[in-house]
């Protein structure tokens, strides 16, 4: 039975992530209205926001420690927040600033925070094999850390995903595959491109447990993830979870979503994981003032991070040539790491 402190922790991650995405949307659209020009405004590049995905990250990361590894796809902010990635430096990275996590080189799809073992990749499903590798390291070193790979439902048709399931299964690796099913691979509905309605069924062919959690339900995610993470930590191998989430802000900012029926977009707003969790917390006699104070704290933290990020300097152009290699000197490594 989940404790009230865990509910509050999840709630705080979720309202932080929601407010973060809402604020980033505002910042991103600055200079892009009425005519949308991807090169205008304070935030460079594409922006894939995760509003409506919050329950997944919070419910899973509630069971993780700093040393556990998490990989995320191109829609990573909510996962990064729940994993404890430095919010200020992450925000500075998204704004393309020198003090960002990657000195402005990576951007919003390529966030790396080694302090909490978080990484992401902008290529579909390609964050999954490295999570298997992190799990392999834990197994080889006889450590009880685990790895979690987050991916979208569109990614479960990708070869790298299938190969990772098999590899993890054959070696009983401590990894949890977390599929966030928002039903849309950009403009392609799941039913058009994927042969299973329930992605967790893909577990069966790889001899691992698979479970689907519906309704953006953070508590149900928490319960499912608890079992999966414990199974991994105890050395009993991988699990595949598919979690229903909803896409509230389009595939990327500027996505006209002309392909999406209005009723579907409306449904995404009706299924609000945050409201659902609030109702659950009221059952636990958490009062409104407590919810309010969590929200205020979360919003203040987001505002502080955005304000800080915008004050940071841009990188100097010549920094573009640094960091291609960690050891740029040529030749043999004398007395190098062993």
């Amino acid at each position: 039975m989940i404790g009230v402190n865990k509910l509050e922790w999840m709630y705080e991650q979720m309202v932080t992530a929601r407010h973060y995405e809402e604020r980033l949307r505002e910042e991103y659209l600055e200079g892009k209205q009425p005519a949308f020009d991807i090169s205008a405004g304070p935030i460079p590049g594409e922006l894939h926001l995760a509003a409506g995905h919050e329950a997944s990250a919070a419910g899973v990361c509630a069971h993780l420690r700093d040393e556990d590894t998490v990989t995320a796809p191109h829609r990573p902010h909510h996962v990064a927040i729940a994993k404890g990635v430095d919010l200020k430096r992450m925000t500075a990275e998204i704004f393309g600033r020198k003090t960002g996590l990657s000195k402005g080189k990576g951007g919003h799809m390529h966030l790396f925070d080694p302090d909490v073992n978080f990484a992401c990749s902008g290529i579909i499903a390609q964050g999954v094999p490295p999570a298997v590798g992190a799990a392999l390291s834990a197994q080889k070193r006889n450590e009880d850390s685990v790895a979690v790979a987050f991916l979208g439902e569109g990614a479960i048709d990708q070869g790298g995903f299938f190969e990772s399931l098999n590899l993890a299964s054959v070696h009983d690796l401590p990894v949890v595959f977390v599929v966030e099913d928002n039903e849309w691979a950009i403009s392609m509905p799941k039913e058009r491109v994927t042969d299973v309605e329930n992605g967790a069924e893909r577990a069966e062919g790889h001899h691992m447990p698979g479970e689907r959690v519906d309704y953006d339900d953070a508590v149900a995610v928490y319960d499912a993830a608890e079992e999966a993470v414990m199974r991994a930590r105890d050395g009993n191998g991988p699990t595949l979870l598919e979690l229903q989430v909803h896409r509230r802000m389009g595939h990327f900012m500027g996505d006209p979503e002309g392909y999406r029926p209005d009723v579907d977009a409306e449904l995404a707003h009706e299924h609000d994981s945050i409201e659902r969790l609030e109702a659950r917390m009221r059952d636990y006699d958490v009062d409104e003032s407590e919810l309010e104070s969590i929200r205020e704290r979360a919003e203040a933290r987001v505002e502080e991070a955005i304000e800080w990020a915008k004050e940071q300097p841009e990188p100097d152009p010549e920094e573009a040539y640094e960091d291609v290699f960690s050891n740029p000197a040529s030749g043999a490594v004398e007395g190098g790491e062993r």
Partner: protein, 336 residues
């Protein structure tokens, strides 16, 4: 305005050719991610679903190895698939189908097998999409034998090259630059939107186009940088330097004659590429000139993406992606 004088964006011209080929030949079909209802993330299939339906404008799962390989198989059966790889950067998940099957099956079969497939793909940066979504990778595809590689820089060329690509019996990689397509959300420079005839026409592969004639310096380039080179040429004209701009249009086959003719005339060569500097287009064109026109060659400069993954922040991407000023500087250096 007569139909033949209508101006089209590059994406409309490309779609125009595809639609024509699909009307003419039922064996032509198009598959890729988000090509049906969305019309292609970069407008490469706008409006085609309405005319041709889902059987011929196919959305496919995010399974590049599967659907690009399926394109190879359908082409070997004699169909004429056009298969879209959303970003050239994504080739990594499916390269085996591209370079070991699509490109080699004709040769490995001793010529008994044809692979009449077109692989369309979006390339290029300038909009801060960072290291995994901004590459051109021209040199990578052109390096590997067995695929024809096409890079249009204008609407007129985009249409003629697409007609030729679909009709060609060999695999063709058709690389369209995002910044040139004329997207509402990513404004193109002035050059790529051109007059495009209504009727079909082909631009044969292996014919470079001299986009501007000049006597003093040859600039050889392709894609977006054709337009940056033309801008640079305008600036340099004011200084009395007469620049010739050669648009390669196809890398495989390569029009060596047009390049060499220009180099023999000017004696000064600048090669401009949005791909990485080392082991790529700039080195290849420079070697071509050195091997065949060394006596005429007074000076050479290369302008290219330095050998770093493409960074995200604006000042960093602007630093690495060569602009018109970088071309001006290089031309001045060889003109001295």
């Amino acid at each position: 305005m007569a139909d033949s004088e209508r101006e089209l964006t590059m994406s409309r011209a490309m779609v125009d050719a595809i639609a024509h080929e699909m009307r003419e030949n039922e064996e032509v079909f198009y598959m890729g991610e988000d090509v049906a209802d969305y019309g292609g993330i970069f407008d490469s299939t706008q409006g085609l679903l309405e005319e041709f339906g889902r059987d011929r404008i196919m959305d496919v799962p995010i399974s590049e190895t599967g659907f690009i390989g399926a394109g190879v198989g359908a082409a070997m059966e004699g169909m004429r698939p056009i298969v879209e790889l959303m970003f050239a950067d994504f080739f990594g998940v499916a390269m085996d189908q591209i370079y070991n099957n699509m490109a080699k099956n004709t040769y490995m079969s001793g010529g008994s097998v044809e692979v009449p497939m077109v692989l369309t793909t979006a390339v290029g940066g300038t909009y801060n999409d960072a290291a995994q979504h901004s590459q051109t990778l021209y040199g990578t595809f052109a390096h590997l034998p067995g695929m024809k590689v096409v890079v249009p820089s204008t609407a007129y060329d985009a249409k003629g090259l697409m007609h030729n690509a679909v009709r060609d019996d060999d695999p063709v990689v058709y690389m369209f630059h995002k910044r040139l397509m004329g997207l509402a959300w990513m404004p193109a420079p002035a050059g790529p939107k051109t007059a495009v005839p209504d009727e079909d026409y082909v631009i044969p592969f292996g014919e470079a186009d001299v986009k501007r004639e000049g006597a003093d310096v040859t600039v050889v380039t392709l894609g977006l940088h054709v337009h940056r080179a033309l801008d640079a040429a305008e600036t340099l004209a004011d200084e009395g330097v007469d620049v010739e701009v050669v648009d390669l249009r196809t890398l495989v086959p390569l029009d060596e004659e047009t390049v060499l003719e220009s180099v023999r005339k000017t004696g000064r060569l600048v090669v401009v590429d949005e791909d990485y500097r080392s082991f790529g287009v700039t080195g290849e064109i420079t070697a071509l000139a050195a091997e065949n026109a060394l006596d005429d060659l007074a000076a050479v400069e290369r302008v290219a993406m330095p050998d770093v993954p493409i960074p995200y922040a604006r000042p960093l991407e602007e630093e690495v992606n060569p602009d018109a000023d970088a071309i001006v500087d290089a031309v001045r250096a060889v003109a001295e």
